[in-house]
Symmetry: C2
Subunit: 299 residues, 2 copies
DNA sequence: TAAAAATACTCCATAGGTATTTTAT
DNA sequence: ATAAAATACCTATGGAGTATTTTTA
């Protein structure tokens, strides 16, 4: 097979019409270059150069020189393309985010990502943890932003921050209570939850005693907005992730209270295949997510 | 620089998504292939493959695989192109022919060449020997069909055949003369010649004694047709190359006689730069010219 | 004769092979 | 536990260097 070395040498010969100067350009000796040209002619089975006191390309040599130049340019193009990709967070990255994070984090993160890494082509997909992990596994996602820990041995994770759960109850129900609520108070009213499959549902339940679980709404809302709406209408109380309160709880028909320590919380982070070579990119992505978070508000 | 070997190996990996099978296809061992892929990744500065129990291409790897396949196809194209050129008499050949040969040889030779070598793109140029040789030298011609020998050390020649000179005289002037004329008879009447620059003129003069030369027409015709016309009108006699008589002397107002031995003749052959790598092609070209000549006619 | 490319040879870099270890599922 | 790729180490091919010869103009 013709080597790129041969193409390079022959391209130089075609341009200089002189083995010595071509060799100089290629930073090799003339015999080395001559041998490669001869080998190339042998491999192709056609004379490329007419040798004499001064050399000349044959007709075939002319045509092959043009093709060689084109090929060399495309090979250089590989490096150029690769260079454009070797900067962190450049090229395509497919990010999955769970529904209980996406609307609260992406609005801040996406513009900042675009600003810092204009070469990044981020594809975002929002779905349940279960599907995110499956898509990570089958390669249709590169990284997922979700609640840790994740099941499955094939994944590596990058923890980012803790997101506290706050107690949301109908307005007035918390009135007069100075002290912060404790987990035990989950038993005081029906616990409204997201529908099956949302990790938030499982996490909320994990803070409950078995008896409380009977208290839980067995239908489940399909979004936090719906959940908040249900709380506001007095159907019960729920746990809201802190990151969601600005967006979801900026209304006066519900009360949101921070729990007394130890506060329940979920850990948010990135997950990716442990074989992924993009770990450095994910670290940079994590930094942007952390930087883009609004500062914690006192509640 | 990325080598074609690396591109080949990586292309195989991209298609098989498996180092071992890719290595098998490339007829090397898995470690050898692995090393080249690693070296390619190092050279490009990007991860191309995500390694695991089963491997997967990165986004950059995907894109580079597509480019690599394209480049490899173009490199294969070089060989294909060269193969189409390595058959004898294929591709472009630029042939020069002198005016006293072209109209008598080309009509037979060109169709036969086209028939035997359909891949040949012959460019024919007709001009005087002097210019043909200059164009051979500067590379704007590959080969010339002319009268040998040629001046100049840089040329190699391939003699093809002898072309006798016949005596053409006005009709009736040769009547009754049973015996063939001799060179001496050139003195019997004014000798009509082609204009300066035509080698035929010099060759004809070379057969004349100094005294005859005074006899020669000093203006000169610009073509053999004109010359024959002049002979027919009784202005004198001339020498005609045998190859031309069928075309030029098929008329009853001139007599054409073969000289007694030793017959004057010119040697016709091919000339080309001695550095030309197309010698084999020129030999094949010579064969076609010889084969296409009409059989000698008795005159 | 002078300039240029080819040849002869020597050496070393490196591609590739074998055996083994590490890693991922 | 097993399949697959990486690593370690060794060998050998061939690319490149130096010196020289051959060829062309």
């Amino acid at each position: 097979m013709i080597s790129t070395k041969q193409l390079t040498y022959f391209d130089a010969v075609a341009r200089h019409k002189h083995f010595g100067r071509a060799a100089e350009e290629c930073a090799v000796t003339q015999p080395a270059l001559s041998m490669q040209i001869q080998e190339m002619e042998r491999a192709l089975g056609v004379a490329l150069v007419e040798r004499g006191r001064t050399i000349r390309l044959t007709d075939a040599g002319d045509q092959i020189a043009a093709r060689a130049a084109d090929i060399l340019q495309r090979i250089d193009g590989l490096s150029d393309f690769a260079n454009s990709r070797q900067a962190p967070l450049s090229g395509q990255i497919r990010l999955g985010v769970i529904p209980s994070i996406a609307p609260y984090v992406l609005p801040q993160v996406l513009p900042e990502l675009q600003r810092r890494y204009p070469a990044l082509e981020l594809r975002v997909r929002e779905t349940l943890t279960e599907y995110l992990l499956a898509q990570l596994e089958d390669g249709s996602l590169d990284v997922a932003l979700l609640a840790l820990p994740v099941e499955g041995a094939g994944f590596d994770t990058l923890p980012l921050f803790d997101d506290a759960f706050l107690l949301a109850s109908p307005a007035g129900s918390a009135a007069g209570k100075r002290t912060r609520p404790t987990i035990d108070q989950l038993a005081d009213a029906p616990l409204l939850l997201l529908e099956e499959g949302h990790c938030l549902r499982e996490q909320a339940l994990s803070f409950c005693s078995l008896r409380d679980i009977e208290n839980a709404d067995s239908f489940g809302a399909s979004s936090l907005s719906t959940l908040v709406q249900m709380v506001a209408s007095g159907m019960g109380q729920t746990l809201l992730p802190e990151m969601s309160v600005t967006l979801e709880a900026g209304r006066n028909d519900i009360d949101v209270q921070r729990f007394a320590a130890p506060q329940p919380s979920r850990k948010v982070g990135l997950a990716f295949r442990k074989t992924s070579p993009l770990k450095a990119d994910f670290t940079a992505l994590g930094d942007v997510i952390l930087d883009a978070r609004p500062p914690a508000r006192d509640i």
